[in-house]
Subunit: 121 residues, 2 copies
DNA sequence: CTTATTGTATTAAGTCATTAATACAATAAT
DNA sequence: ATTATTGTATTAATGACTTAATACAATAAG
C-alpha cells in the first residue's frame, strides 16, 4: 500500500511518484514496469485508477508499451535528463516563492536551509 | 478573481492563501476580514465555499468572529509567529525531500539554490 | 424601533474521482 | 492450437466539492 493522501486525485499522485522514480533512476531506461493489475494491488487502488495513471505517463512520453508485453521506461535518456533539470528548477522556484509568501527574505532562506541540511534529516 | 486551480479543493486553497497572508503580516493581528459575501465576490467563488474556508480558519484559531461584526485576525501574535516558524520548517523539509527523490544529493542542492537566489526571480 | 449587514443553515443539482465488476482483444508462452 | 497474461473498454454506484438559490438569526447603525 503506497502512501497516498486524499487531498489530491490519487492517479495524479501515482503519476508523480512513478515519474520521480524514472527521473531518479530507480526505474532505469528500458526497465519493464509491472502490469496494471500488479501495480494496482501493490498500491492498494483500483485497477482503473492505475490504468489512468499509466495512460498519463504514456502521454508524457515517459513510458511506452505494446499490447501484451507490458510497459517499459522510455529509452530516451536525454529526455529524462532534461525533465530532471526542469523539475528541479521548478521545485526550487516554487520553494523560494512559498518562503517569500511566508514573509521570509531572500537572505534568510539560505542560512535556514544550510542548517537543516547539516542537521541532516 | 483569485488564482485558483482545479487540482485541489478550492476551499483548501483559500484557507492556505489567507493563512499565508496572516502569517506574513499582510493581514495584521486584529485586522478585520471582509465579509463572506465580499470575499466570495472577490475570489469569484460561491459564498458557501468561502464560508467553508472561514470555518476552517476559525477552527485553526487564526481568525475569530462574533455575530454581525464580521471576523478579525487573532490577537495571539505568539501563535502566529510559532506557526510561521513551523510552516517554514515543514516547507524546507518537504523541499529537501522532494529534491532527494529526484536524485539530487545534499551537497548539490545548496549551490543550485544559491544560483537561483542570486539570479533573482 | 427599523433597517442593513453579517454569519449561518438548508436543499438541490452538477461534476469529477474513485471503486467495483466484468468483458473483450492481442499476443507471448506452452 | 490452447492458455495465460496484459492492456483496454464499459457500465454503474458512491462520495466529495462546488455552485445555486434561498431563508433565517443576531446585532450594529440609523
Amino acid at each position: 500500500m503506497w502512501k497516498l493522501d486524499a487531498d489530491r486525485p490519487i492517479y495524479m499522485q501515482i503519476v508523480e511518484r512513478i515519474e520521480k522514480q524514472i527521473i531518479s533512476g530507480a526505474y532505469g531506461s528500458g526497465d519493464r514496469i509491472p502490469s496494471v493489475r500488479e501495480l494496482a494491488a501493490q498500491a492498494g487502488v483500483n485497477p482503473n485508477t492505475m490504468q489512468r495513471a499509466m495512460t498519463e505517463l504514456e502521454r508524457k512520453g515517459l513510458i511506452a508499451g505494446h499490447r501484451t508485453r507490458g510497459r517499459v521506461v522510455t529509452e530516451d535518456r536525454e529526455m529524462i535528463e532534461e525533465r530532471r533539470g526542469y523539475m528541479a528548477k521548478e521545485m526550487i522556484r516554487e520553494f523560494l516563492w512559498q518562503m517569500r509568501e511566508l514573509g521570509f527574505d531572500k537572505e534568510e532562506i539560505l542560512p535556514l536551509l544550510r542548517q537543516e541540511v547539516t542537521d541532516d534529516v
